[in-house]
Symmetry: C2
Subunit: 286 residues, 2 copies
Amino acid sequence: MKKMLFLGGTGFLGKNLLEAFVQAGEYECVVFDKQGFPAEAPAIFQEVPVCLGNFEDRDRLREVLQQHPAEVLVHLVSTTIPSSSNLDIALDIESNLVATVQLLDLARQYNIRKVVFLSSGGTVYGIPSSNPVSETAPTNPICSHGIVKLAAEKYLQLYRHLYGLEYLICRVSNPYGEYHHSPVQGLINVVLRRIVKGEEVVIWGDGSTIRDYIYVKDVADAIMKLVQNDAFNQVVNVGSGQGLSINQVLTLVQKELGSFPVRYERGRAFDVPALVLDCAKLRSLM
Amino acid sequence: MKKMLFLGGTGFLGKNLLEAFVQAGEYECVVFDKQGFPAEAPAIFQEVPVCLGNFEDRDRLREVLQQHPAEVLVHLVSTTIPSSSNLDIALDIESNLVATVQLLDLARQYNIRKVVFLSSGGTVYGIPSSNPVSETAPTNPICSHGIVKLAAEKYLQLYRHLYGLEYLICRVSNPYGEYHHSPVQGLINVVLRRIVKGEEVVIWGDGSTIRDYIYVKDVADAIMKLVQNDAFNQVVNVGSGQGLSINQVLTLVQKELGSFPVRYERGRAFDVPALVLDCAKLRSLM
């Protein structure tokens, strides 16, 4: 059994990845996160050992890596989301970028060979000159979240160059699906939650913003196949490769659930007008 | 008179830029740095007001920006050099990147309109697939210094996008010339210093490493012309566009000064084998 340590494993992507890897039966999975799974979480999560700790706490992380010398680290921690990241950039840099470098240093010290890094396909490219966007497109993020993800990618590549630590950088687009509990992030999840609660749906801009939505279990499958195929030392877009506008998503939801109230607010400066990932590389690696 | 504030203005590039801008007679120049000019510095520097302070000290920087509401900031501060930056990456990120973001925040608060940023043409590109390297080439640094410079560039571009703060990013290659006092950085300076002192010249690698050397007064002229031509919101390579190997430089020095002892040491992982900047954009903007 390959030992895998999921940092930030109790979150949305974390739970879905963990479920896929545990179900595959070939991996010994351990979680590091600041909280454990709630009592009502599905049984599959109750069997996974959780090491509690703060990602920025280097000493605690050191203990966990000593105790669980995993072959692969899966780094899912993010203390910011795109919409909040511009409000306190110093915090974004320190809690994500500095902490990620600390993790890489520890990984190197404890002879961990591989790191899977969940990057942000929706923010690292900034405003693309055309869509779909391949991995070699220019990267000029318009939010700090994207800059920090991009800089973390560069440090992963640096540690590969200097110390041989292998990396798999997954630039995930906009995942939706099970275990998505954020009240503010993820259009499909937020819209459904508001409809269920009988609340008004609030859209930033006129609804023409185009995104690449992907079912989170497809993300988990893709990442598992990349790990199984040993597709390390690659930057890979992980998306559907298909663009939908916010209004198209709302129409699809309306078809299923009937009409609901929508309010359009002014667009936000950190929202890219259209972003669809070119996923040819992912297909070839799977 | 346009008011210009030079952060890190007492250093190598700082002194040369300052000299050029003061001599031009159109600028009111002020320096912010952790130390002043030594008593033996040329007279031109003795007339420039120096505000003492640490670049990371936000409160001190705020006072200085209040006292000197410059039209243009010239950001020359760097607490690391390529060869040291991989040794303490957290320090590199905090003292350079976080401090730069603090500066941009203050610039925005005090209505400063323009920032000139001295980036690193020698490190932001990493190992280029071919030379010369244009500004649109991939950027995969192999030292933390380069990653931090690159991330700072991205934050400058973000502040332009979000708040309209104008930037001029100068990716300077390997400058040499007056006021270069570092005992460890800058091949030509270090070689000459060692010869003068009668010390052995130490070269990392076999001397085949190719760099783009540029006379520092040409850098100062170029940057002054870019500022005068209002060439903001650009990323510009500032180099000679010509490559010389270390051994070619040593041969040129030998022709002038006669032979001197050279010792070759093992190459370093963070040294790019060959890097020459494509300076067509600089020429067109000048």
